[in-house]
Amino acid sequence: MKCADEFRSREITAPLVEEIARSLVRPVRIMEVCGTHTMSIFRHGIRSLLSEGITLLSGPGCPVCVTPASHIDAFLAAADLPQVTIATFGDLIRVPGSGRSLAGARACGARVEIVYSPMDALALAQKEPERTVLFPAIGFETTVPTIAATILAAKRLGVTNFLIVAAGKTMPNALEALMADPELQVDGLLCPGHVSAIIGSEAYRPLANRYGLACAVAGFEPADILAGLLSLIRQINERRPDVENCYTRVVSAEGNVRAQQLIADVFEPADSEWRGLGVIPGSGLVLRNPYRSFDATKQLALPERPSREPKGCRCGEILKGRLLPPDCPLYGTACTPLQPVGPCMVSNEGTCAAYYRYSGRKTGTIHHEVPSLSAATTESS
């Protein structure tokens, strides 16, 4: 089937790999900002195909990883309420907040269900009208329209026992904040495939213009990622930063207008805290007035306390591309996929988890005494 298999075939990938090697004239630093790119690069061994002059950095592209501990704490506070069922995407349940995770709360008797779609959470609310079903609405532009469509359905159906914590985030302002950081040295951006399907490839034009940043939109198959990298290397060589769309079968210049409209109908922009990056103006989405009755934070009076990050955890700098996972003092010792400390090790798509599973590096580069984690937590800055 042309729609999938050929994008993995050697017939397409081998010439791209060769052309990348031929095109590289100086060291380049490329950041990907999509957890699925991070995973795909590792899973297909793409790093091992590239020459040493290409440094791939992982940015804040995993929604679970950038959700601040304060939001996780709010989900946990809701889980402790006897009438509440948490219906969540599976990758969230092991992420620790300031202390516990939703999995821990479930072990203590809270009702936490894993759903595949926010519509499944709404169906659960309809099936169990005596309970309040809370969906932790985390995600980027790809996920937010699914939540908006679910809220619209809930309103039309008159379902009142379905609530969300609006924790959606939008990519452009966060990328803008990252690129404005003078310490971050990135020549090119591998733009997220399915976020771009919604916001359109032209959304990155301001980054290319303002920061001289080469941008390429890429899909998730090996050929997609290699084509994106080749496009970036050529742009960097020619000092002609631009936005190239290498994922034309899914992404258009203007994006998915119907999905954009769904977001705009239900949500409005607000400042939002990103784990590791701090508060980024206009990078979050909150419910518009007509839909505030679905806001769990208000309806259940959930606490909004400042975040407390685990001591020693360097997820913040890893999400900003300043450190690689083995540079973290906890990597491979106190923090492993089985006993994760920070969100980058918890999520399947987290940079640390991907490194741990696929790079062969099971220990960090820094070895020193690690404080006891149960007792030691610290205020995040």
């Binding site: 052309e19 779609s117 329209p145 469509a149 399907a197 998915n256």
Partner: protein
């Protein structure tokens, strides 16, 4: 988690009532069948076309020709081109 693999639409169902019987697509890939919502699809797919899924919703409708066009761009990229800006772009 983004799902890269497009699923082929084998049937369209419902549509008699936006609320109680919304239009949905039945999709299939490698023998896996699933019902997907179409509220955020960029356009309603026809049977035989493909959709990209996210959290139970179709986010993009594409055809085998769209995939073939994308492949041809990649083939052209990998050919040795004198740097003359023949890079991929949106379909003409």
């Amino acid at each position: 988690m983004c799902l890269a693999i497009p699923m082929q639409v084998v049937e369209l169902q419902g549509g008699s009532d936006e609320l109680l019987d919304p239009l949905v697509a039945l999709v299939e890939s490698d023998g896996v069948r699933k019902e997907v919502r179409l509220e955020m699809a960029d356009r309603i797919p026809a049977v035989g076309e493909y959709v990209i899924l996210h959290a139970g919703f179709a986010i993009r409708t594409l055809t085998a020709e769209d995939a073939e066009y994308n492949l041809s761009l990649m083939r052209r990229m990998a050919e040795v081109l004198e740097s003359e800006g023949r890079l991929p772009g949106a379909p003409q």
